[in-house]
């Protein structure tokens, strides 16, 4: 008879990782923890190297024959070109201040997700090929040879960094590990080792202007669909225009808000607000995407995709650009656009036509964040608001990494929130503002095959939401980023069931008392407004 192991024997599982140095421990690609490789057609569209069918679980990654030379040369070019990259390779003293600040480390417990060690994955190669001590002393100087295994390790871990920059807040030297990740991804792109979740949107955006590849007529059709929905809820028919030359303002927002809930309600919110204040604005069906997945690919691709914003602004002859609730769009606009594709001298310094406020902070980029714009409207008493319409929502606010750490936008969204709802509670200090935790899926990692890793990366954020959910009964998580709106529903469903997700302007629209509106009984989701539950029943 076979020996049946006892329970305590079964429990004796050796779950310690292999006792080999980190430099010699290969990565294992388990489903749920990596993103699929880029399809060749998506690389071909923008002319990125080495298009081929491949999958990270393959033994052979079909790298170009001279992959090693390409990588070393790619590093050399970037070390010469980007002083930050050179500095970040040299100046880290491995103090460990960043070590426990990464949400992926906190959630996964994988030490290679400590920002210092993640950067070390590439620093060790830098030392080997670009420093005297590394060339001579090799591993005794923290250097190691570049092998295919290293490329696989880079792919695994640099697509496990969401470029959120939380670690950089704590670095005494100001090392921005996100920029190290950006460089590593550029090098991976030179070998064709990128993920399809960024390559697909890049290709679509390049060809048609948005991530999903929706053509102009379909884009217009979608927006008009929301016109009907708004009318059904409010009785007011808003009248958006498309590609209208001579409009004062060009409005650009992530296309995610056009196609997927709950972002769609935020989009309806923008349209209601613009109608109410009589803003002279137009949509562009060509610059129909605020997001820029080129940012997660390379500087060059980011620049190409971003160029369409200014090009459309110029073609349409608008005075300035108003931007919707997006995350990385704002990092690109605030940190790169002006020097990449600017200066946009043909545009004017943004001035609100309603309040007369001049947005000096956007003097250079000519692009204003909608949270600033709306906060200014409220500050000047230009909106009639009934926050009690949101009384069934107990709200908290997630600072999206890029508007928070990429442009310092902390107060405006909170100012708006406090005027459009009566129940607002902050998450604990240390998890908000400049120390905010990432959603776990930024920088192009918001794909479904990556769900398990997303749950790890999003744990610190969800844990803080759970706290306010239990303490204050919070049932609504507000955010000003389209990727957040796309990924938080799943994250909340797993970690904090009972918390829904909304954009800021969905709440604005609920509270907005519009001229000529009918008696509002539901919010934009067709759910009864507080106190209107019975009237809803009567309607049905």
């Amino acid at each position: 008879m076979a020996k049946v192991p006892k329970a305590d024997e079964l429990a004796k599982v050796n779950h310690r990782p292999p006792q080999t140095p980190w430099t010699e421990t290969p990565v294992e690609f388990r489903p749920g923890t990596f993103c699929y490789g880029a399809k060749p057609k998506n690389l071909e569209v923008v002319g990125l190297p080495n298009p081929r069918d491949w999958n990270p679980t393959d033994e052979d990654w079909k790298l170009p024959d001279d992959w090693k030379d390409i990588t070393i040369k790619g590093m050399k070019d970037r070390l010469d070109k980007f002083r930050t990259f050179k500095l970040f390779m040299d100046i880290c003293v491995r103090c460990g201040a960043c070590a426990d600040k990464c949400h992926f480390f906190i959630g996964s417990g994988d030490p290679k997700n400590m920002p210092v060690l993640r950067a070390e994955l590439i620093r060790s190669i830098y030392r080997k090929y670009f420093t005297g001590s590394g060339k001579i002393l090799s591993k005794y100087a923290g250097a190691r040879a570049l092998t295919e295994q290293v490329i696989k390790e880079w792919f695994y871990y640099f697509y496990q960094c969401s470029e959120c920059r939380r670690c950089s807040v704590f670095c005494p030297y100001g090392i921005d590990t996100a920029e190290v990740t950006i460089m590593a991804r550029e090098l991976l792109n030179e070998l064709g080792c990128t993920i399809d979740w960024t390559a697909g949107p890049v290709a679509n955006c390049y060809m048609t202007g948005n991530h999903l590849g929706i053509q102009p007529h379909a884009f217009k059709d979608m927006i008009e669909f929301f016109v009907d929905e708004i009318e059904e809820v409010t009785g007011v028919r808003v009248e958006p225009t498309f590609n209208r030359k001579g409009a004062e303002v060009l409005f650009i927002t992530p296309s995610g808000d056009v196609f997927a809930d709950p972002g769609t309600y935020t989009l309806m919110g923008y349209m209601m607000l613009f109608h109410e204040i009589g803003l002279d604005y137009t949509w562009s069906t060509y610059a129909s995407e605020g997001g820029n997945f080129g940012f997660f690919t390379s500087h060059e691709v980011m620049k190409r995709l971003n160029a369409k914003m200014y090009a459309e602004a110029k073609r349409l002859g608008v005075k300035w650009i108003l931007g919707g609730e997006c995350g990385h769009m704002w990092r690109v606009v605030n940190q790169y656009m002006d020097t990449m594709n600017g200066p946009a001298d043909f545009l004017e310094v943004p001035k609100s036509p309603i309040t007369g406020t001049v947005f000096e902070n956007a003097k250079s980029t000519k692009m204003v964040h909608i949270a600033e714009f709306t906060a200014d409207l409220i500050r000047h008493g230009k909106l009639k608001l009934d926050p009690s319409r949101n009384d069934n929502k107990i709200v908290t606010f997630h600072d999206s990494c890029n508007p928070a750490r990429g442009m310092g936008l902390f107060e405006e969204p909170r100012y708006v929130l406090k005027h459009v709802c009566n129940h607002f509670h902050e998450m604990p200090e240390g998890t908000i503002r400049e120390k905010t935790f990432c959603c776990g899926a930024g920088s192009g990692l918001n794909t479904d095959e990556y769900m398990e890793m997303r749950m790890r990366g999003g744990l610190p954020r969800a844990n803080a939401v759970r706290y306010v959910h239990e303490k204050h009964g919070v049932n609504m998580l507000t955010t000003i980023c389209a990727i957040d709106r796309a990924v938080f529903p799943a994250l909340m469903d797993y970690w904090v069931p009972g918390v829904d997700v909304t954009g800021l302007h969905e709440l604005v629209a609920n509270a907005l008392v519009m001229k000529g509106e009918k008696k509002r009984t539901t919010d934009l989701r067709y759910e009864p407004l507080p106190g209107m539950e019975d009237e809803e029943d009567d309607d049905v």
Binding site: A7, D8, L10, A11, K12, V13, H15, R16, P17, R30, G32, T33, A99, D100, F105, I106, G107, S108, G109, D110, P111, M114, L212, I214, A218, D221, M222, F225, V258, F259, A260, D261, T264, P428, G430, T431, D448, E449, M451, E452, M455, R456, L459, P460, N463, A464, Y467, E470, K471, G473, A486, P489, A490, D493, Y494, W495, Y526
Partner: protein, 217 residues
């Protein structure tokens, strides 16, 4: 709040009506350990709760790489260290239940605190749930060290049965978590293009009125 109220209910229960479900842990009048003749295993587990929990917690976090284990142990801020604090809270709750009598609906939230995390970390199912069984080891080796094993052998079997009961529930929770991850993935794929398909009339138009079944939507 839910967690706090469940926890205080258990603490209250601990002082009100302590018992093992099997009832096999009755006071042992012949026990003669360390000059406390009437002490039984339940009393011992109550008195040594802090030390045993510490050992158990240590065993669980040792499953992580050394650098991570040190962080999980040392960082006390629950928002900076949600994994460590959740594991600790979960183990405390499960321990109280094992000592005072396992009640399914009360132990589940504590198990969930630990398993929900380990179900999405880099563990096999066996590794993810081995923490439940390691409580046996921790208690047993402690009793062995103190020479109390023979005297409380029967009590120990009852405690181990309680741990096994918890383990069976742990399997259920683990599966729920894994199934949830797969469900989320499917839902997300469907939602990504839902509005487009709806607009293209590929989805039954009456879906919004709630007439369509789940399958149809």
């Amino acid at each position: 709040m839910v967690f706090l109220s469940v926890y205080s209910a258990i603490v209250h229960k601990m002082s009100a009506a302590p018992s093992f479900p099997t009832g096999r842990l009755a006071p042992n009048p012949t026990a003669s350990g360390a000059g406390e003749p009437s002490m039984n295993l339940t009393d011992y587990l109550r008195q040594n709760q802090k030390a045993i929990l510490k050992d158990w917690f240590q065993t669980v976090v040792d499953a992580y790489p050394a650098e991570t284990a040190a962080f999980l142990r040392k960082e006390k801020d629950p928002f900076a260290n949600p994994v460590g604090s959740s594991i600790l809270e979960g183990l405390q709750g499960v321990y109280a239940q094992v000592v005072e009598g396992v009640q399914e609906e009360q132990v589940a939230p504590f198990l969930d605190r630990v398993i929900r995390i380990r179900a999405v970390q880099d563990f096999t199912p066996a590794q993810a749930l081995s923490f439940v069984f390691s409580l046996k080891e921790v208690v047993q080796s402690r009793l062995e060290e103190e020479g109390r094993l023979p005297e409380w052998a029967e009590d120990l079997r009852a405690m181990e049965a309680a741990v096994d009961q918890v383990a069976l529930m742990a399997f259920n929770i683990y599966m729920e978590c894994r199934e949830k991850v797969y469900e989320l993935r499917v839902e997300e794929v469907k939602n990504r293009t839902a509005r487009l398909l709806e607009r293209a009339n590929a989805i039954w138009a009456s879906q919004r009125e709630g007439e369509g079944s789940q399958e149809e939507s």
